[in-house]
């Protein structure tokens, strides 16, 4: 990266006049030590003179050297400087990347304006080159896990194809949103979905964390900005690279299930005896007098698994080797694990790059093919990109970047409550099920054409009414569902930019840029009619997948199309000039952003008339379900920045930006916000006194950022509801009231920091403190609904976030052939809600997908912002306490209190450690990341305890007797606490009562867990061959690199090992999510 940027910089210096003098001519080639390739743009000077030339595209130079010239000095930024005596007419040089000339590193800052990293007045951290490519990471966010201070990354299960990980920078900025996504900018084009960034093209990532860094991006930068620069051709070279990765995913940490008790109800009797009766199928006589457990209850409170003879669910149906035969009830400890397949991923990239005189072009194509961990799921992606730049003449340069991505995946990955696979396994399941038989019988149908389920419906507790028998009570066979239900999502994305720069002279240039980002999504889901025939209950997950609220689904077809476009038209005038000791950098620019969106979503209703004919007109009920919406929004902006640099010792920056947003009231749609910052590099002043300090800087900055709202929020709208009632249209008053005096929101941030490096850069430390106040946040404030509205969108609230970020970088070993570098980062962020609106102290942010719509039963807690205690409080039903002791009711159950604060979703500390080890051509990298403090709610624990799936619901109690035995015979759960008057209570409670009615069904507190974890995220081992030694092959093969990697190798520590807190689905916590996985893979990279 460094080399690349610097190459382009240096081309700017090509205009330096070449001075010829008398003497001899010396020629030579300058090559890079890293890959043996020629380096263009290297300055070659005759020592002690002002004579100099620059190497050409092929790395060659030719210089006239006067008689007095004895030594040549070769210099290239980022590569250090070497001197070579002129021993003849040919002097070749090999330059090595200067590992520690950090001060020379030039980075992209806001709007692509480049700056020396050392001159920045705020915290900005980046990743480039090897940090990115080694493990072939899945996406930008995952690449940052554990690597950037104060960036909390939440990855997702590899089973969730097409989903993206989420990140939160500095804990997030908004008081009212659970998601705080930063802005992603790829080569000047803002992007909203990181799945469409080809990691093979990424050259550099810069993270602008706070308002000071992101001020020029305005409102969209208030949650931080991630600037992604893609690879460009290297000057004077033709490169062809082929990169192939092959990897496999396997399920890792699953919860600890109990394997002692089979499926069935919490009530007795646990086994029932089947008695054949007239009218029952004749074959069932074979089962007469045999026992079976309660299939219809999707819990595991059934009989103890003892190898006894019983009638399994599949024995009732003809046509299999198991028909009408009993089986032995045996434990199935791995049934959940064995459900999942091995995911396979193959990814190939071919890239051509060439740069010559006045142009550079890079074309890259990637093909990705993945089969998922869930049966019958897959993902295919194609990325095609072009990155080019042309000098049209002396003044004009044109840049064209273009990316086309096509993504297609199949599968339903909504891992929420009611998910037919993980949702069932973790919350509602029979622990005794033989998964191989489920798989084997996934094509089985009852004589009446239904899909028989392990969860057979059985209204009266016995298999009766054979004609109806065989459907599922709640859950169908997960294999059958995976095989027959389809959901295909196709997305086509086109994004890129075209720019024209006019260089007036070496000081002043003007750039005009147009960027376009378009996504077209097409979605289709098909649920065959047989599921309707085989499903009995409305609360069935199958019902949830379609028209909830009507009757069970008898087949569904849904299709939707979305078109999203964002266009940006911008200009930027740049001025750069050095006046003796002071360098001035000034920029002035403007932007018009326009977002357009339209969608059309249709679904059949009430089932399909012709079975399995998936068309909208085949809907049982007409009109079928449809919705269509569209919007547009425009934001216009003008901005400018000035940087003054005095001898690289004192640097001052200032920016100002004004936005006009179409979404705000006309009277207050303009908002202006400035920023100012300064750095003082004191290295020179301590060179003598403190020689061990190789670099020292202190910095301070202050910034404001303004924000607006979404479109159409400033007045009440009455939409015509989708359905007519007997030909009458219906409209309703919206539930959100509008504050007509809405103003833009403002964040004000102050930041201080220091960057120090010691012992010839062997050790570095960077520290930042920030304090940010957000005022007038535009929040849908919950109000008393007796007002007629549930919320009011208004300027309210003050939220403060402050924290520290520390990065420590050091070499354990540093020498020519062996290097071991550790980068450690730790951050602490604290959010505090100072004020909402008068009289309101809590603001609801969201909650689990299973909360009772009536509020009648507190199934799951919500996440709130609370004045005094901050953002992200989990509030729900807790256990009543007296002096810290649990209060126990007379029946041994817990007394509870609603609206109890149960913890915070925000961690106290986040951080990570990057280890980079290299020995000659061998390299080893591994990253650890951790989170300390914070909490999450597990819906799976909540329901899975209720339904007796987890190990804690079985086993022995402290009296040495099975917990599930009656209290009278020594069983039961030991409960200690106090009664309502504070007197001690020490008792045993029936396990079913404990887990059914009190422990988990009603009380959230027992399913709140600690977010703390330590995780080894990735390990990568690579070897770079010296192709030169390959003889004639080496002539063509410029590079050969192989590497092997593991992602998610080890969840080193977490308190509740049943779930992986680094991969939670919801911000509030876990909800029946797909399992964590480990990826093993290898990459081969060939360069020609």
């Amino acid at each position: 990266m460094k080399k690349l940027l610097l190459v382009s910089l240096c081309f700017l210096l090509l205009s330096v006049a070449q001075v010829f003098a008398q003497g001899r001519t010396v020629t030579g080639t300058v090559i890079a030590k890293e890959d043996g390739g020629p380096i263009p743009g290297v300055s070659v000077k005759v020592k002690g003179t002002s004579l100099g030339v620059i190497t050409g595209a092929d790395g060659k130079y030719s210089i006239r050297v006067p008689e007095s010239g004895k030594v040549l000095v070769f210099a290239f930024i980022g590569y250090g400087t070497i001197e070579k005596p002129i021993t003849g007419s040919v002097v070749n040089a090999t330059l090595e990347v200067a590992t520690h000339q950090l001060g020379e590193v030039v980075v992209n800052t806001a709007l692509g304006i480049q700056s020396k990293a050392d001159n920045l007045a705020y915290a900005q951290q980046g990743l480039s080159g090897g940090d990115l490519t080694s493990t072939r990471l899945t996406d930008i966010n995952t690449a940052m896990a554990g690597k950037i201070a104060n960036v909390q990354v939440r990855t997702q299960s590899a089973a969730k194809l097409g989903s993206q990980s989420s990140i939160r920078i500095r804990g997030g900025n908004s008081v009212s949103n659970l998601t705080n996504d930063p802005l992603y900018v790829v080569d000047n084009t803002p992007i909203d979905d990181i799945n469409f960034i080809n990691m093979d093209d990424v050259d550099d990532i810069q993270v602008l964390k706070g308002p000071s860094a992101a001020a020029l991006y305005g409102q969209r930068g208030s949650n931080g900005v991630i600037i992604i620069t893609t690879k460009k051709a290297k000057a004077g070279r033709f490169d062809l690279t082929l990169t192939s990765t092959f990897s496999a995913d396997n399920v890792t940490n699953l919860p600890h299930f109990q394997n002692e008790y089979a499926g069935g109800s919490a009530g007795a009797p646990i086994f029932q005896t089947y008695t054949w009766a007239a009218g029952d199928p004749a074959e069932w006589k074979a089962l007469d007098g045999k026992q079976y457990h309660q299939y219809f209850d999707d819990a595991s409170w059934g009989p103890k698994i003892d190898g006894q003879e019983y009638i399994p669910w599949y024995a009732w149906f003809p046509g299999t080797q198991y028909s009408f035969k009993t089986a032995k009830l045996t434990p199935q400890p791995n049934n959940v694990r064995d459900f999942y397949s091995t995911g396979i991923n193959a990814q190939n990239n071919l890239a051509f790059a060439k740069a010559g005189d006045g142009y550079n072009v890079r074309i890259s194509y990637t093909n990705q093919n993945t089969t998922g961990l869930l049966p019958n799921t897959w993902l295919k992606r194609n990325y095609l990109s072009l990155n080019s730049s042309f000098n049209l003449d002396k003044h004009f340069t044109a840049d064209v970047n273009f990316n086309y991505v096509n993504q297609k995946y199949q599968g339903d990955f909504s891992d929420t409550y009611g998910n037919v696979t993980s949702g069932s396994f973790l919350q509602w399941f029979h622990r005794d099920l033989d998964i191989n038989i489920l798989k084997e019988l996934s094509g089985l149908r009852t004589p009446y054409g239904r899909i028989p389920s392990w969860n057979l419906n059985d209204e009266l507790g016995k298999p009766s009414q054979a004609a109806f028998y065989g459907g599922s009570d709640y859950w169908t066979n997960p294999f059958t569902y995976q095989n027959l239900a389809s959901a295909v999502n196709i997305q086509d994305r086109l994004y890129g930019n075209a720019g024209l720069t006019y260089k007036f002279n070496s000081h002043f240039k003007l750039n005009g840029n147009f960027s376009h980002n378009q996504r077209n999504t097409h979605y289709e889901s098909k649920l065959p009619s047989i599921f309707g025939l085989s499903t009995q209950d409305m609360s069935s997950p199958l019902a949830n997948n379609a028209n909830a609220g009507s009757r069970p689904v008898v087949g569904t077809y849904r299709t939707y199309d979305v078109r999203q476009v964002e266009n940006n038209y911008s200009f930027l005038a740049s001025y750069n000039q050095k006046f003796s000791d002071i360098t001035v950098d000034a920029n002035f620019g403007g932007n018009i952003r326009r977002n357009d969106y339209s969608s059309l979503d249709n679904s059949t209703k009430g089932g399909l008339v012709v079975p399995d004919l998936f068309t909208l007109t085949n809907s049982v009920t007409t009109p079928f379900s449809f919705s269509a919406t569209r919007y547009e929004k425009i934001v216009r902006s003008l901005y400018g920045s000035v940087a003054l640099n005095w001898k690289d010792i004192v640097i001052l920056n200032a920016t100002v930006r004004n936005d006009w947003s179409s979404a705000l009231p006309v009277t207050s749609n303009s908002y202006l916000y400035p920023s100012i910052g300064g750095s003082f590099i004191f290295t020179k002043f301590v060179e003598k006194s403190l020689p061990f300090i190789s670099f020292g800087k202190v910095r301070a900055s202050w910034a404001e950022i303004g924000s607006d709202v979404d479109q159409y929020q400033t007045q009440l709208y009455y939409s015509v509801l989708a359905n007519q009632y007997n030909g009458n249209i219906a409209m309703t008053t919206p539930n959100q009231d509008v504050d007509t005096g809405l103003k833009p929101a403002l964040s004000k941030s102050t930041e201080f920091g220091a960057d120090l490096r010691f012992l010839n850069d062997r050790l570095g430390i960077s520290a930042t403190y920030y304090n940010e106040n957000r005022v007038n946040d535009i929040i849908p404030i919950n109000i008393s609904s007796a007002s007629g509205f549930v919320t009011r969108l208004s300027n309210a609230g003050k939220i403060n976030r402050h924290g520290i970020e520390l990065t420590l970088d050091g070499y354990v070993v540093r020498n020519k052939s062996f290097n071991y570098n550790i980068t450690l980062n730790v951050a602490r962020n604290q959010s505090r809600v100072d004020e909402l609106i008068p009289g309101v102290s809590n603001l609801y942010l969201g909650g689990s997908d299973y909360s009772s719509s009536t509020g009648a039963a507190a199934y799951a807690p919500g996440v709130w912002s609370s004045v005094g205690s901050g953002y992200g409080q989990i509030i729900g039903r807790g256990i009543q306490k007296i002096n810290g002791q649990n209060v126990i009711n007379s029946d041994g159950t817990y007394a509870y209190v609603d609206n109890t604060k149960l913890g915070s979703i925000m961690p106290d500390l986040t951080g990570g450690m990057i280890n980079t080890i290299s020995y000659k051509n061998l390299s080893l990298n591994f990253t650890v990341d951790f989170v300390k403090g914070g909490n999450y709610f597990s819906l799976s624990n909540f329901w899975g305890g209720f339904s007796g799936l987890y190990d804690f619901t079985a086993g022995n109690n402290d009296r040495g007797k099975p917990t599930r035995d009656p209290v009278s015979s020594g069983g039961g759960v030991h409960v200690k606490g106090v009664d309502a008057t504070g007197n001690p209570v020490d008792t045993y409670v029936d396990a079913t009562v404990y887990y059914d009615n009190n422990g988990l069904n009603k009380i959230n507190e027992t399913s709140i867990f600690d977010l703390t974890y330590v995780k080894l995220r990735e390990i990568n081992l690579g070897y770079k061959f010296n192709t030169k030694s390959f003889g004639s092959i080496g002539k063509y093969l410029k590079g050969l690199q192989i590497s092997a990697f593991v992602r998610n190798p080890w969840l080193i520590y977490t308190k509740n090992k049943n779930f992986d807190p680094s991969e939670l689905t919801g911000n509030y916590g876990e909800s029946g999510q797909l399992p964590p996985s480990r990826t093993l893979g290898a990459t081969l990279k060939l360069g020609f």
Binding site: S265, A266, G267, P269, Q272, Q294, L460, K462, D537, M538, G549, R551, F571, A573, G590, K605, G606, T621, T622, Y631, E632, K633, L638, V666, S670, Q711, Y712, L716, Y717, Y718, L721, N723, Y725, I729, A730, M731, T732, T733, N735, D737, I781, N782, S784, A786, S787, G788, F789, G839, S841, N842, Y844, S853, T854, G855, A857, A858, D898, N899, D996, N997
Partner: protein, 493 residues
């Protein structure tokens, strides 16, 4: 050079353009997806589509498929939960009123506001004055449900966008409801102006709205029988003698006949979900009186030809144990009465008959209690299309009276319990007022008092968003106590 000039000009032009017109966006921020002014007839339709929810026992009108959300029919022990008992164990938590205030009441408020403030809108949806009266009646109806559920609720400061409305005493609310109902009835302009549009209940028949208003007033007046019989009697007589009449015939019933398709009968889901059964105490009573309605209210067992109830108030282990015991039980609503296009009976002639029967005794009207008791049975059976019952009305009345040891008043009051199946909110109100029949609380109740709830606890949103007024209301509870479910509303003395 030419290029230079061009660039300079364009840059200057761009800046100038930017500064002068940056803040002007025209119609960009006007949504193309929705209207800025509501159509009042469409608001009325919307409100009326929700009328069935409270009636079938959902805690809020916006819950239109209420199976798991029922409250009042568990309190009156009409239903038992079979698979996942929660609400029948009295979970003791706040119940949201968002659907009542922010949806139906705000829509009604808007109908009145639009018709009052903008005369030009009059033509839209029918005569403005008449639209206003219908909205007032429905508003009174929904406020009566609210205050009967919770007790003191925001009333005078409600619906006007005040974020922290104060609570009004239930007595004051009742006083205003009587005034609103009588004033609405008196203000109708029958036959004047355009006919009402969007009325899916009475199709714009204003005489019917008068009957509903008077009948509602009867029921509210009867609710004061213990706490303020003087007012109660006065209002009762005034309503009864109003020229508009009351609902004294099934054809005047307030009922929502579902078209099916996008709007299904709320209990339609029960066709396939075995989660709600008729409760044992209720089924036993119907069976004891040989009441033919038992075959309407529950599924007849195909082998025995009878209906049997599911034990009431069991927790999950106990309920599962009962299922496991294979004792038959009957799911709620006979199949023919829970089709997609079945009707919900919101306010019926049978109910008005019973009010008049009781009014004759309690408020000393000139009606004959026995006649109206018998009429209520006749009307109720007819309402459910019971055409050839195995028992005569007269014999049935004998059975029911015997079941109450000859106590006529108690017999009438028990009939509320039986006849108001499907008008669950009214059934719950009457049970609380009369205490008839005496019901045994759920044996596995989880609320602290272990008794049948006498009111809904205020929504938790009020605790959080309107704390001052909430606390004041709790402090001013008519009979002391806190915001609990066993505390009583003002009229439930």
């Amino acid at each position: 050079m030419f290029k230079n000039i061009k660039f300079r000009y364009s840059a200057i032009a761009l800046i100038a353009l930017g500064l002068s017109s940056c803040g002007k966006f025209g119609d960009v921020n006007i949504s193309p997806n929705a209207a800025t002014t509501p159509k009042t007839s469409a608001l009325l339709t919307n409100v009326e589509t929700y009328l069935g929810s409270d009636a079938v026992g959902a805690p809020s009108p916006t819950i239109t498929a209420p199976i798991t959300g029922f409250l009042s029919p568990y309190y009156t022990q009409h239903y038992s939960q079979v698979q996942y008992p929660d609400n029948q164990l009295y979970p003791s938590t706040g119940i949201s009123w968002d659907g009542t205030y922010a949806v139906v009441l705000e829509d009604l408020y808007n109908i009145i506001a639009v018709n009052s403030a903008t005369p030009n809108v009059k033509a839209d949806g029918g005569n403005s004055i008449n639209q206003i009266q219908i909205a007032r009646i429905l508003k009174a109806y929904y406020f009566s449900i609210l205050t009967d559920k919770y007790g003191d609720v925001p009333y005078t400061q409600a619906l006007i966008k005040k974020v922290d409305p104060a609570y009004d005493k239930q007595q004051a609310i009742y006083t205003d409801l009587f005034k609103e109902l009588s004033s609405a009835v008196a203000s109708f302009q029958v036959g004047v102006g355009d006919p009402i549009v969007g009325d899916i209940i009475y199709n714009g028949d204003l005489t019917m709205w008068k009957r509903f208003a008077n009948s509602l007033r009867l029921s509210l007046a009867m609710r004061l029988s213990k706490v303020d019989p003087v007012t109660g009697k006065a209002q009762f007589l005034a309503a009864l003698t109003d020229a508009g009449g009351v609902i004294d015939n099934n054809s005047y019933n307030v009922k929502l006949s579902y078209p099916g398709g996008s709007f299904n009968f709320p209990m339609y889901n029960l066709t396939t979900a075995s989660v709600v059964a008729i409760s044992k105490p209720f089924a036993d009573k119907l069976n004891a009186y040989s009441d033919p309605r038992v075959f309407v209210y529950a599924v007849k067992n195909s082998t025995t030809g009878t209906v049997s109830g599911f034990p009431y108030g069991l927790n999950r282990p106990d309920a599962q144990a009962f299922i496991g015991s294979k004792v038959p039980y009957s799911l709620a609503y006979a199949t023919a009465y829970k089709t997609a296009t079945s009707s919900v009976y919101v306010f019926t002639a049978a109910y008005v008959d019973l009010l008049r029967a009781e009014g004759a005794i309690t408020y000393g009207t000139t009606d004959d209690p026995a006649t109206f008791l018998a009429k209520s049975v006749t009307d109720s059976w007819a309402q459910w299309s019971i055409t050839s019952p195995a028992i005569t009305v007269a014999q049935y009345v004998v059975n029911a009276t015997a079941g109450n040891s000859g106590n006529l008043l108690k017999t009438i009051q028990e009939q509320y319990w039986i006849a108001l199946w499907g008008s669950e909110q009214n059934a719950y109100d009457e049970w609380r007022r009369t205490g008839v029949p005496a019901l045994t609380p759920a044996p596995d109740a989880t609320n602290p008092s272990k008794t049948i709830p006498r009111r809904f606890q205020y929504p938790t949103t009020e605790v959080n968003y309107n704390p001052t007024n909430y606390n004041a209301a709790v402090a001013a509870m008519p009979y002391g106590g806190g915001d609990t479910d066993n505390n009583r509303v003002w009229w439930d003395k």
